[in-house]
Each structure stands twice: as C-alpha cells, then as structure tokens.
Amino acid sequence: MKSWFMLALSAAVTLAVPVVVHDGYIIQLLNIAILNAIVVLGLNFVTGWAGQINFGQAAFYGLGAYTTAIATKAGLPWIAAPFLSVIVVVVASLMLGLPTMRLRTYYLAMTTIGFGEIVRLMIVHWEPVTGGTSGLRAIPGVSVFGFGPQGQMQHYYLLIATLGLAILIASRIRHSVLGRAMIATRDSEIAAEQSGVDTTRTKLLAFMIGAVYAGLAGCLYASSIRFISPDSFSGTQAILLMTMLIVGGMGSIAGCVVGAVALTILPEALRFLGQWYLVLYGLGVIAVIVMAPGGLASLASLAQLRRANAG
C-alpha cells in the first residue's frame, strides 16, 4: 500500500514540475536528467543485474544520437530515426559483445573503454558527416506525421512518458526468466551454468538491451536538445553514467533514476565551486563506494528496515 502511495506521489510531483517551474533552463536540465536516467536504466541491465562492467554505454548513447541527427538532417522522416538508431546500436553491441562477453573485470573494462574511445575518435575525425569537435546543430525535432512537441515543456512530458515506459519494461524484464538469469549470472556464473542458464547469451542480451536503451535515449537527445557534440558522449561521460548507477544503487530501478537526476543537477547547482566540484565528485564517489556500496537505494531500504524493527 505504502509503496503505491509513494509511486503516486512521485508521479504527481514529476508531472507538476513544469507547471510550477517556468525557468526554461531548469526544464532543459531536467530533460537531460531524464535522458540520462534512461541510459542509466540501460546500464543497470548489464552492470546492475548481469554484473558486467561496461564503460561503453556513453558510446551507444552517442551512436544513437549521431544516427538520428545525421538521418534527420539528411531529410529522412523523423519516424525512421528511432528504428535506425536501434539498428546501429544493436549491430555495434553485437560487434563488441560477441567476442568480449566471455571476458571478465579488468579485461572487459578495458575493451569497453577502448570501444568508447574508438567511437569517439570516429565521431571527432569523420568531420564532413559528424561535424567533428564542433558537433551538429539545428537537428530537426521530433515529428510524427506532422505532430510533435513544441517547446521545452512539451518535450518534458514526452521524455517523462518515455522514461515511464523504460521503467515499466525494465521492471517487467527484472522478474522474467531473462531477468532472473541475469541476476543468477551476476551472483555466481558457475552456479548459473549448473542450473541451465546460458550465461554468455544472458550477458550478451543484457548488453544489447542496455545498448538499445542508450540508443533510443540518444535518438531523443538529438531531436529534443537539437544540438550534439562529441563531449556529451566521451569516456568522461561513460564514467559519469557508471557513477550515477553506483551512487543511486546498482540493481535498483528507483536508484538508477535518482542517481541520474541527482548527478545531472548537482554539477549545475554547485557551479560556484568551479574546479573543486570535480575534486569533491571524485571523493564523494569513493565515499559512497566505501561506506554505502549499495548506493542511495540501500540507505533508503536500510532506513525502512530500521523503522520496521522499531515499530
């Protein structure tokens, strides 16, 4: 009962935000936060549930964004863009995942970092198509048969709806055979194999679903923010996405959303700190990993447990 109430309350608050807040800058920031939340939800499949480290998520985000930007700027109808973005990221995730999903920890970390770097270099140096370091501007907006959101507020509702769908699908997958297989793979690969789980296939599927989330978020990023540059999808961004997951709480859907929103807004709110923000950001990440390895989500459930014990 209580969780339903919390859910309804948070839904009401999210829907009311643009009505109360009229600052375009804040809504734009929230839009980016929602997109990041979708990407982090995708990362959660691979890292939170299947237990595989992945620093390539920002590259999938970027592939989705650039595919959409290039396709719609070339005059293709917008409706084709999400499909194209998904095809590109699925092909890319198969190319990276098929040979590397058997690797572990450091090796997987290195190959995914390498993949991200290769994608970034391609974006930066394929200038005639990608605009190089200066990025692409004036990307056509979302439009389905002539209908599309106007202004940041309508985009906000579109993105919130997409995030809701992403959360719904993630929670459905979590309790499906595939979701359980992912968790089993994370907890013990040997035990999972013994119980008949094809761990390599499970990891690959988690990796692909994660990439599709990132690709679709990238597609929406390009057509709602309308400007993209390689910086938004760099290795630094990949680390930031991973941090959002850890700080929010690996494996927790609510944690993913909270982590992504918090770490998107925090740097803007703490802008007065300048360079010191990044120092504190690094130290904060270490503090969370050392003191609360389950992230904010684990702190919340711990508090709940305490209350239950006291009452």
Binding site: G51, I53, T105, I113, W276, Y281, I286
Partner: protein, 288 residues
C-alpha cells in the same frame, strides 16, 4: 624508417614503464590501478615544480620526485586499497578511477591548465647514425628502462623481500599465516609502483609537454600493454610496451595520425579475442 623505429621504441619504453608500475601492484594485491596515468602526471608536475619553478638542478628534482612519489603511493594505498580489500574488482576499478579524477582536478587547481616543459636530465648533441637521429634523452629513456627492468627482475626473484611479495600475491592469507608482514610488503609494492609511474612522468615531460590531463591516455596505454603482454608478466610488459610504441608510430605515419590513440585499443581487442591470456600468458588467470 629507422627514425620511426627509434621514436617508436622510445615511446614504447615509456609505455613499458607505466606497465611495470602497474605490474608491481598487480602482482602483489591483484589490483589494477586505473589512476596510474594520473600518478604519472603528478610525478611530472612535482619534477616541474622543483626544476622549473624552484630552479633546482634536474637531478635533485628527480630525487625529490621519487621520494615524494613513494609517499604518494603509500597514501594512495591507505585511501584506496585498504577500505576496499576483498571487495569486488569492479568497485576497485571505480574507486581508482575516482581517485584519478581527484588527482587530475587538484593538479588543474594547483598547476593550471597550461602545458609546461621539463628539461631532460641529460644534455648533449644527438647521435647520428645512417641518417637516423637519436637524441640524448631517447638514449636516457632506453637506459632507464633497462636499469629498472634488471632491478625489478632481481628484486622480485632474488631478494628476500621480492619473494615475500610474490608469496603475498599468491595467497594473502597463507602469507600472513606463515609470518610474512603482509601490510608492509603491500606498502612497498605501492610505493615502488608509484615511483615507477613518477619516473615515467619525468621521462615523458621533456618530450611531450606536461599538462594535468596528460594522465588519462598514458594510463590507458599502460593497461593496453599489460593486456597485450599478459597481466603480471614482466617480459610481456616490456615487449608489449615496445610493440605498442612501434605500432602507434608506424600507424600514425602510414595509416592516419588522427586515429593514433585508437590503434592501441584495436590491437588490444584483437589480442584478447585471439589469445585471451595475452601474448605471453598471465600469472593468475581469472578473466575467462
């Protein structure tokens, strides 16, 4: 052609040094330090503070840097390694990355974003041989790598402390049971590994300029070398480093200099797919 070989080997020697620093720590505590590149940057800037800002002789600057880096290594161990002992490797990777971010931004605050140059400890006219120019600094790099390689080899296999280190690496609990001062051994590994990355920083700064953001790509090259050569494998780290230096230099000359940083990763992924234990095998295997 000959010139490319010399330049490639000089660059590769620096990569090998970074990999040797990683290897010392990896061989003792099975941790890959993703902040190694930022430690290298720190070494370069401590050297610059001594030699350029305070105008000390370059040799003194080197000595101060090495002592400072040993201390940094121990602080690093206390802050990053001890709290995470026995935790999943994944969290250790993230903690060291976070530490790298902290170091990089502290360096930006202290030294500013502008690139600075550090003089080489050796001076003199370059050697010319059949049209190939070898600078004194390049010779110094080769010599340093050779000396460190020999020292490290003898230290690990012939001295008592090196053998204690290897025992700690094989099984921390048994090592402690038979009376090996495990914490002291690990501290020495961290101090040495960090000094090695500091030396790599001092060697890089005279060729490329030093800037606070230089660490990221150099650190990653060190890991690529470790992967190619097999983690924890001493000859593998050196041969892998030289090999990567050659590939980058030739790739930049004959294919495209834009993708210079991508060759390392392409080679690494190819090696991992073909030989998942690295070209020369790995000491302990837990990757597949």
């Amino acid at each position: 052609m000959g010139q490319l070989v010399v330049n490639g080997l000089a660059l590769g020697s620096i990569y090998a040094l970074v990999a040797l620093g990683l290897l010392l720590i990896f061989n003792t505590v099975q941790i890959v330090n993703f902040a190694q590149g930022q430690l290298l940057m720190l070494g370069a800037f401590i050297g610059i503070s001594c030699a350029v800002t305070h105008e000390l002789p370059v040799a003194t600057a080197w000595a101060i840097t090495m002592v400072a880096m040993a201390l940094v290594g121990i602080v690093f161990m206390v802050l990053v390694y001890f709290p995470l002992r026995g935790r999943p490797a994944f969290l250790v990777i993230l903690t060291t990355i976070a530490m790298g971010i902290v170091l990089e931004n502290l360096a930006l605050i202290v030294w500013g974003p502008l690139p600075v140059s550090l003089p080489s400890p050796v001076r003199g006219p370059p050697f010319r041989f059949a049209g190939v120019v070898v600078s004194m600094h390049q010779i110094f790099i080769f010599a340093t790598l050779a000396v460190i390689l020999l020292l490290q080899f003898f230290f690990l296999t012939k001295t008592r402390f090196g053998i204690l280190m290897q025992a700690t690496a094989q099984d921390l609990h048994t090592a402690r049971l038979v009376g090996i001062p495990v914490n002291r051994t690990i501290a020495v590994a961290f101090a040495f590994g960090t000094v090695l990355s500091g030396i790599a920083g001092l060697l890089v700064a005279p060729i490329f300029l030093a800037e606070p953001t230089m660490g990221g790509s150099l650190g990653l090259k060190g890991f690529v070398v470790s992967v190619i050569g097999g983690f924890g494998n001493l000859p593998g780290a050196v041969i892998g480093g030289l090999f990567l230096g050659l590939i980058e230099t030739f790739g930049a000359r004959y294919i495209s200099s834009n993708f210079r940083d991508a060759y390392a990763f392409i080679v690494m992924i190819a090696v991992l797919v073909a030989w998942p234990r690295g070209l020369f095998g790995e000491k302990s295997s837990e990757k597949v």
